[in-house]
Assembly symmetry: T
Homo-oligomer: 155 residues x 12
Amino acid sequence: MTSERILVLHGPNLNLLGRREPGIYGFTTLPEIDAMLTREAERLEVVVTSQQSNSEGELVSAIQAAWGRECGIVINAAAYTHTSVAIRDALAASQLPTVEVHLSNIYRRESFRQHSYIAPIAIGQISGFGADSYWLGLQALVRHLRQPTTEASEA
Amino acid sequence: MTSERILVLHGPNLNLLGRREPGIYGFTTLPEIDAMLTREAERLEVVVTSQQSNSEGELVSAIQAAWGRECGIVINAAAYTHTSVAIRDALAASQLPTVEVHLSNIYRRESFRQHSYIAPIAIGQISGFGADSYWLGLQALVRHLRQPTTEASEA
Amino acid sequence: MTSERILVLHGPNLNLLGRREPGIYGFTTLPEIDAMLTREAERLEVVVTSQQSNSEGELVSAIQAAWGRECGIVINAAAYTHTSVAIRDALAASQLPTVEVHLSNIYRRESFRQHSYIAPIAIGQISGFGADSYWLGLQALVRHLRQPTTEASEA
Amino acid sequence: MTSERILVLHGPNLNLLGRREPGIYGFTTLPEIDAMLTREAERLEVVVTSQQSNSEGELVSAIQAAWGRECGIVINAAAYTHTSVAIRDALAASQLPTVEVHLSNIYRRESFRQHSYIAPIAIGQISGFGADSYWLGLQALVRHLRQPTTEASEA
Amino acid sequence: MTSERILVLHGPNLNLLGRREPGIYGFTTLPEIDAMLTREAERLEVVVTSQQSNSEGELVSAIQAAWGRECGIVINAAAYTHTSVAIRDALAASQLPTVEVHLSNIYRRESFRQHSYIAPIAIGQISGFGADSYWLGLQALVRHLRQPTTEASEA
Amino acid sequence: MTSERILVLHGPNLNLLGRREPGIYGFTTLPEIDAMLTREAERLEVVVTSQQSNSEGELVSAIQAAWGRECGIVINAAAYTHTSVAIRDALAASQLPTVEVHLSNIYRRESFRQHSYIAPIAIGQISGFGADSYWLGLQALVRHLRQPTTEASEA
Amino acid sequence: MTSERILVLHGPNLNLLGRREPGIYGFTTLPEIDAMLTREAERLEVVVTSQQSNSEGELVSAIQAAWGRECGIVINAAAYTHTSVAIRDALAASQLPTVEVHLSNIYRRESFRQHSYIAPIAIGQISGFGADSYWLGLQALVRHLRQPTTEASEA
Amino acid sequence: MTSERILVLHGPNLNLLGRREPGIYGFTTLPEIDAMLTREAERLEVVVTSQQSNSEGELVSAIQAAWGRECGIVINAAAYTHTSVAIRDALAASQLPTVEVHLSNIYRRESFRQHSYIAPIAIGQISGFGADSYWLGLQALVRHLRQPTTEASEA
Amino acid sequence: MTSERILVLHGPNLNLLGRREPGIYGFTTLPEIDAMLTREAERLEVVVTSQQSNSEGELVSAIQAAWGRECGIVINAAAYTHTSVAIRDALAASQLPTVEVHLSNIYRRESFRQHSYIAPIAIGQISGFGADSYWLGLQALVRHLRQPTTEASEA
Amino acid sequence: MTSERILVLHGPNLNLLGRREPGIYGFTTLPEIDAMLTREAERLEVVVTSQQSNSEGELVSAIQAAWGRECGIVINAAAYTHTSVAIRDALAASQLPTVEVHLSNIYRRESFRQHSYIAPIAIGQISGFGADSYWLGLQALVRHLRQPTTEASEA
Amino acid sequence: MTSERILVLHGPNLNLLGRREPGIYGFTTLPEIDAMLTREAERLEVVVTSQQSNSEGELVSAIQAAWGRECGIVINAAAYTHTSVAIRDALAASQLPTVEVHLSNIYRRESFRQHSYIAPIAIGQISGFGADSYWLGLQALVRHLRQPTTEASEA
Amino acid sequence: MTSERILVLHGPNLNLLGRREPGIYGFTTLPEIDAMLTREAERLEVVVTSQQSNSEGELVSAIQAAWGRECGIVINAAAYTHTSVAIRDALAASQLPTVEVHLSNIYRRESFRQHSYIAPIAIGQISGFGADSYWLGLQALVRHLRQPTTEASEA
């Protein structure tokens, strides 16, 4: 049996994680998150590839490139969550099951961070658990991919 | 070492799960979800108690009663998510770490379901993964309770 | 032929009907309305049961209990019309044909009374005819239940 | 005793009923609705006259002409429900008791159909019961006209 | 010297003036208003023609017909004030100086009556003085037509 | 017979009329407007007093002082039209019939100029006719004061 | 002379007062507030009964039960202030003079706490003085009940 | 092969084209536009009929009459674009493919011109190209009618 | 022990109290309110000074002058409550404990009266008790000044 | 005579056309659209160059580079239509005549797709005709470039 | 060469600067700011006069008085920035180049402080630099007055 | 003493400055602005580096790269000011003091240009002074960096 391949996408400024404003985003760096996801992926017998970009266009292209190569996407689009119709359209076009994750609880922050263009086209959203949001997102996606018959979703 | 105690609260109409509108909410019943959580709790070495009510006041009282007895709460407040300031206030007063879960992806549904009174006073929110949302919520809460030093949360 | 069973639900404060503020709600009491509905039910050869509650949770439970026992619901949710997503969800889950009625013309009153959470999941709404609103609601439901093929509803 | 005279007004596009989009509006034609109302009027011992127009101005004039000739109006203003202040003003000026009816449940449709200029100056509104909405509207108006002392309506 | 010709337009339901709801609109009838305007026109040495219609389209056509024949328009568009872009466009296209009048003070009435599509393309608006609003409107228009150099209007 | 006394109030910046921005407000100065009103007052056999102030408080006090001394008020509150609840309250407390006038057509200007705190407590409003707005306002007030029985105004 | 009877109602979560979040709500417990009110009631020669509930329906029923038994109500509806039309309707139906009180200054808190369904049907509102809000509310109600002729209230 | 028949509808005030305000709408008259469309129709081997009306009701009736006689509609509803639900409903009921055209770029004009009731039920919209908008609309409709298999439209 | 000094500020038009519109504001005059407050101040062993102004700037200056001289402020800013950021800023800068009072229940009046710039920077607000609102405001302020340790207020 | 040069710009995700979600966007690929435009360009005797990018910045740079080289732009900015002020500014700065096209009818889709930052600075907009939207856009631009005197555009 | 004269206007409560709430507004007093501006004016070879008022009307009059005497205005209207149309109108009428300054960054404060009536009629706005905002505003105004040809401003 | 290093960032389309639309943005080119800043930097004894990009992602990366290398940032984010949460987040993460500048007075332009995502996380904002805005921004930043003790900023 071939392992499922999963793409983890990190949006703008997430390359700064753990190095700046640890009071806000914690001390864990992005490479540490990726390493944690790789370890967990081994346990779950899936293959995780991750990519970070500050450019909306590069994220769109990365999503397009995932088509036919990946089985699902875990995305923390960071600031683009709230402004990018292009990333939403790329995810919708890819038709890959997608889990949206956020480090912080976006519902405690500025009102402009409480709207997500991605949520309506994702399977679901996980927000507020720090680096654990990624760990939970990976679990959620793998469980979704492996469930025998997809639970019906509401219209 | 004593196991952490966790309260799982189910809001109105969730007692119907699996018996009506399976096309929307799936075939899993609430007792099956509770059983699944109990099994997972054993694996995680925590103790889970669950309670369902159609009454806002009973849910408020259940949250009040958790004070000094439970270590955290996983709550799917269902319809009351969108209308109950009283449940929000009870959770805030309890000062217990709370994880908000939803079976369906509330961001795909009617606009009045996209506002949560609970999210801003919860650690985080998980929505859209069917019964897995509870499973993920339990993981998230246990990991939160067990992390050596709490990651700083944003202001 | 067995008569169709119909549940009539009265929301909060309707137990006061005819006793207070007759200038607003008229002199007819709730028992008089129930008696009138029972007489009309006999004429229509249906069986009417009625129930009043000031509690949102009790109304939710009453709707759940109607499942498999009643053929349809006539509901005047009174104040909960405007605030209860839980009653809406219970009615939707029950999948019973429901007629929403109001004594007063809610479009002449405060703006917060002009939104109904129930209307979009009911067959239809009747408002403004005093106690006659119930009489009309009963006719509407019986005609709906007895029509040979359901008229298609718009999307 | 002279029978009460009642005017039934049908707004724009209702002449198409039953001939187009039966999936939405059913198979009953407007002449069939008028015939049904005539039969029911006989049973109720009232006289019903009906009129259809695609023109807002003609509907205004028809309402003006009803003054001193009719005892009440049942109106389905269709699209003009949502856009015509002139029809509202004509109805208010006529001071005839008016019942507003809609074939479809307007609360399930586009948001611009959920506002009625007519409702606040009508006795009440009935929506969602297909051709039965007219039948119910006629009952409601006749009962209103015949009740010994008008129930007080709220301010 | 030829007298200036002025068209007075009365919108929907104004033909009812003085006959219905005198408590609201006073006892003066439309023919009495027209007669009063004719007398005042003589004094002012202008010629007044007046026209009433319940139809938006007829009012549009009447405005179009005024082009090249009239020197200015006094209009009480009544209900169409608040809903008709077509009348606004006809007035703008006619390029005739227009004075908007209202019998009642529209700023004391329902909020939907407080917006006028006509005001921004009129010289000015007069509202609240009953039949005097027309008398004032005629004065205003004649003074406007006769002033040697038009006062600059703000951008 | 004693002549009626009328107070004309000019709000902030109107002392600049005719001296600055004639392209916007015309070449007529405030003293010229007052002189024109005095001449017209003589013709109408009323006595006009006028007052200008840049201060909201002074205008409030002037309105208070009019009580028992004046029969009516013509007011161009200029910028305070849009921001002063205090002037509105003073006018309402004075119970003097008030006509609101504006030089420019406020419905052609910035949206914040299209709301008047004064209009709902005035008899009526006249806007857009330059200095003629005052002349028309004086006519309107005198006609209002002299009409045998006040026309009923709508609620 | 019989003492006036006054009902004091405490809404959801107020049973926690003084035990949790003293940093927010102070150290005074609900029994202490009730005791303070009882002492003050003696001084004022009125009889105070108090009741707390986490349930909207129970509060509605308590208000209904006050009819004919109590002379007035002091209510801190807490969270239900902002969400309960049912409590508003019960208070209006009871026709008992009602004073609305809040411990905290609701105008310093989340925007959803700045709207009260109760205020428009109460005599008045007192907010922000901690336990003193109740003390003040009791004074206000007793003074209101004992004033020889009620001061007219504005429309 | 029979030529496809196409109805071109012109809304209110378009009969003035080219005669008034050429600075805004250009010098081309409506007959010239119709002649141009006739020539182009010949080249495309379709038959074009055109009709103009200032009346909303007449436009509704013209659309109804097109049923079974025309293959498609090109409509410039002018002012009614923004206010007429009746024309929208007539077009939807006709089920004829419809192309909406506008002479001017409505997205550069007043905000009330930027909403179209017609666009959501048309195939598409063309705005801003002067008389060319009609020419383009005719091309678009003919290409739509002649394409072998209709391109799927998005939900 | 020196008595605490308290400044009572009355905003615009309150000098008219009791003389005009007694149907709205009652028969009590402002000097009578001040006399009542003086008597109550003696009983409470505080010194009350009061001041009325129709001018926003004078009220700002009066608040500034209170600094170092007064211990607290009771303010009924009347119309300026809803429009004056300057008074809010002066009160905030003065850092004196402030109680906001209103004669009428502002939540029953026009919507623009339901917003207060002052409330968020006051200790609390009292509205609706007529002249008693001042009496209650004085009690509230004195109790606040004399409580041993200030109750914590919510964030 | 030199042919006019025209730049065709395709925004994010349009490279996926015809390969994914054909149910929504049809089976035509972007190279096929470009080929069709090239053929049509030959017939029209213009030169078409086309470019696709997922990057907002690259599209801005492409528009800048068109200056002095191209005569006009046909742009389908896809998702950036709704969010990019930068592309709007680049188009405005280029001063090149621009036609905005959309494959789908954006007025049938999510409300966030119904606002275009580009439309107010384009000549006009064409939406809803699938690949034909490009064909129509090219016609519109060429006709615009070749008309002897530009039709005046409305203010 | 005569030095340019510049008026510096300080709005309400700015006389308190440096004496109260230094934690918010710093320790610099208004006389110190004026002294700093005078020194800098000497260096720039301009003459600065400054004035502070708590009264909106006085500020209006001061602006009017500047006409013909001053060459430009630097204004910190403080609270009146957000509420005064009268000051805006006075500045517009004065036609003097005006620079708006704020000590604090108004975009970090309450939302009502983020709207300025003055900004649209000023040359520009400087906010957030403490006393330096005045220093920068003076530089900006002098540079503006001295530039050989005024840079075109956008429409 | 080492000179402070300051990064000047120019957003999309600013590379066109002085070459296109000089009527709007003036004749000064971006290299001329950079040269002017370099000269002024020498006078101020700081080092200025400047960078322009049309790409949101490149600007994010440039801000990230400034960390540890620059002492502060002067940014004119142009169109991204209004849409880019990513640039805001990068600036916030960098924790470098930032001054926001705009060539034009954004408060005179389209309403969508009047909201800045950057302003709330900048020290302050300067807008409307053409190229001088940069000169003023540089002064403001240098004065901020050199002030002995930072003035407290408001919460």
